[in-house]
Amino acid sequence: MVGDTGWRRTGWIALFILPSLAGMLLFVIGPIAASAALSLYHWDLLTDREFAGLDNFRRLFGDEDVWAALRHTLAFIGGYVPSVMVLALLLALTLNSKLKGIALLRTAFFLPVVSSWVAVALLWKWLFNPRYGLINYGLEQIGIDGPAWLFDKGWAMPAIIVTSVWKDLGFVAVLFLAGLQAIPHDVYEASSLDGAGPFQQLRSITVPLLRPTIFFVSIISIINSFQVFPQVWVMTEGGPAGATTVIVERVVKHAFSYGEMGYAATISWVLFVLVLTVTVFQLWLQRREAFDA
């Protein structure tokens, strides 16, 4: 470029990249490195930090509360991911048409998506209220004596799952919708000329062609669910009796309530390992499919 040589060129590049790079170093890359270092220390922020070697990791493997939080997180995933995927797929299939009034209906499914998690969690805490909540009232009308939901060890997690499915349904449906709209029209036209009915088309065209989308959506849903937190914090704070503790909740508790910065950082790396595992699995599966094809 004309006249752009030497220090002047460097100056321009610096001008463009430095605001972002400085922030990334200070607020993202630095803290990532610091988090790794922190996991090797005991530090309550009140006294001097103390080198701990691998103490925190040893403690992690023996920490029954962390294992419980991991189990609860996996239970959340086990309930949430299949439910949200099936419902969102059904929703996307019904939304994927030019029916009258569909835009309005589509809007309805996005309202929870754009709302803050805290507001949604409070709202559902109210809906799940055992005595005055709308849900148990509804169940009563059809002759079912509703459980105590968030106050019941067995029902608290299902309630959190229902709330999360309700909030994310529109988002996941949009991802499916994009996949559906990428399927060429003439495939359907050709099969319909051959006399295929709508259900046959769903089974032998839509689902197989949507497989990459289904796979991809399940991966990001799983990765996002590892980080489940605000709904748990607002609805149960990990209770009752620790029945809904999750990994991020452990990080927050150890950092805040117990003042164990080093151990909080150590637990947060469990999340990274989980995300990394799923990502590697995804890449491995994709590569295998690519070779099979």
Binding site: V2, W12, L15, F16, I17, P19, S20, G23, F27, G30, P31, I32, A34, S35, L38, T94, S97, K98, L99, I102, L105, A108, F109, F110, L111, P112, V114, S115, S116, V118, A119, V120, L122, L123, W126, L127, R131, Y132, L134, Y137, L169, V174, L175, Y188, E189, S192, G197, P198, V217, I220, Q227, F229, P230, V248, V251, A255, M261, S268, F272, T279
Partner: protein, 299 residues
């Protein structure tokens, strides 16, 4: 979808016995499917809308008429009392302004830093560029919770707990935003800027007058995603604020529930104040929101 293709080929001169009977059956099938679709969508739509109506309805009730065993969907004597009281219980007005300030500052700064960096990654050639871009991408793999403890310690050491800079600054850069805008900028044809450079324009002018206007849709997507993320963010403001006067709405709401566990009318009025603005923005820019969510999912 399958149903849409039926009328087109029904008019084709296909010589088949009972063609009209088949067509009639198919037409009936099309209507049946449309009816099922409507039923599913309307039922689903109700499940989505009803809780919001219940939120609004509870917020409009007088304290005495909230805890009723037979729920009143439409409040008998609607009142704005809760909206008045909730501002006295926690500084909700202040929290609202905090949220507005933090969100606008974060979004503007994030767009500025991300678009500048994206320009450097997409439109300039320099040593280490691709390595650095890979580092940016790699940070996307690391859950934000990993950085939150050291970030909290950093804020304490800087004395930034309970300050606006503590709330705002960590959100002013975004690897995802940089990535999103870089991809958009790669598609801007070189010819435009080459002509401008020949006319003596510098990088700043090219960035401002050529590249930015041409990636306008991507900027809108980033703006929408960043607004939604910042307005609704909970974890970071929870870490960095203790003083109610510095809290944003989500943290303020959770504070409200800690202090008034059974005053559902107060909590729901707080919730209405918190979701109202973002829903309004969503209704105004629905298409950009949906596009944005798509891009955030596809990253």
């Amino acid at each position: 979808m399958p149903s849409a293709s039926t009328p087109a080929h029904a008019s084709l001169p296909v010589a088949r016995p009972h063609a009209s009977a088949v067509a009639a059956r198919r037409r009936w099938g099309v209507h049946a499917i449309a009816a099922v679709r409507y039923a599913v969508l309307v039922a689903g739509g109700l499940v989505m809308i009803l809780p919001f109506l219940w939120m609004l309805s509870t917020a409009l009730k007088a304290p005495g008429s909230v805890l009723t065993t037979t729920p009143q969907i439409i409040p008998r004597d609607p009142t704005l009392e809760s909206f008045r009281v909730v501002f006295d219980v926690v500084p909700l007005g202040r929290m609202f302004l905090n949220s507005v300030l933090v969100t606008s500052a974060t979004v503007l700064a994030q767009i500025l830093t991300s678009s500048l960096a994206a320009y450097a990654f997409a439109r300039m050639r320099w040593r280490g560029r691709d390595v650095l871009f890979t580092v940016y991408l790699a940070t996307l793999m690391i859950p934000s919770q990993v950085t939150i403890t050291p970030l909290f310690i950093l804020m304490r050491q800087l004395g930034w707990i309970d300050t606006y800079q503590g709330l705002i600054l960590p959100g002013t850069v975004s690897a995802f935003g940089t990535f999103l805008l870089r991809q958009a900028m790669l598609n801007v044809p070189r010819e435009y800027e080459e002509a401008a450079f020949l006319d003596g324009a510098n990088h700043w002018t090219v960035y401002r007058t050529i590249v930015l206007p041409m990636v306008h849709p991507a900027l809108a997507v980033l703006a929408v995603l960043a607004t939604m993320a910042s307005w609704n963010d909970f974890l970071w403001p929870l870490f960095v604020t203790n003083d109610a006067d510095l809290m944003t709405l989500p943290v303020g709401l959770s504070l409200l529930q800690g202090e008034h566990t059974t005053d559902w009318n107060l909590m729901m009025s707080g919730a209405v104040i918190s979701v109202g603005p973002i829903i309004l923005i969503f209704l105004l820019a629905q298409r950009t929101f949906v596009n944005g969510m798509l891009q955030s999912g596809l990253k």
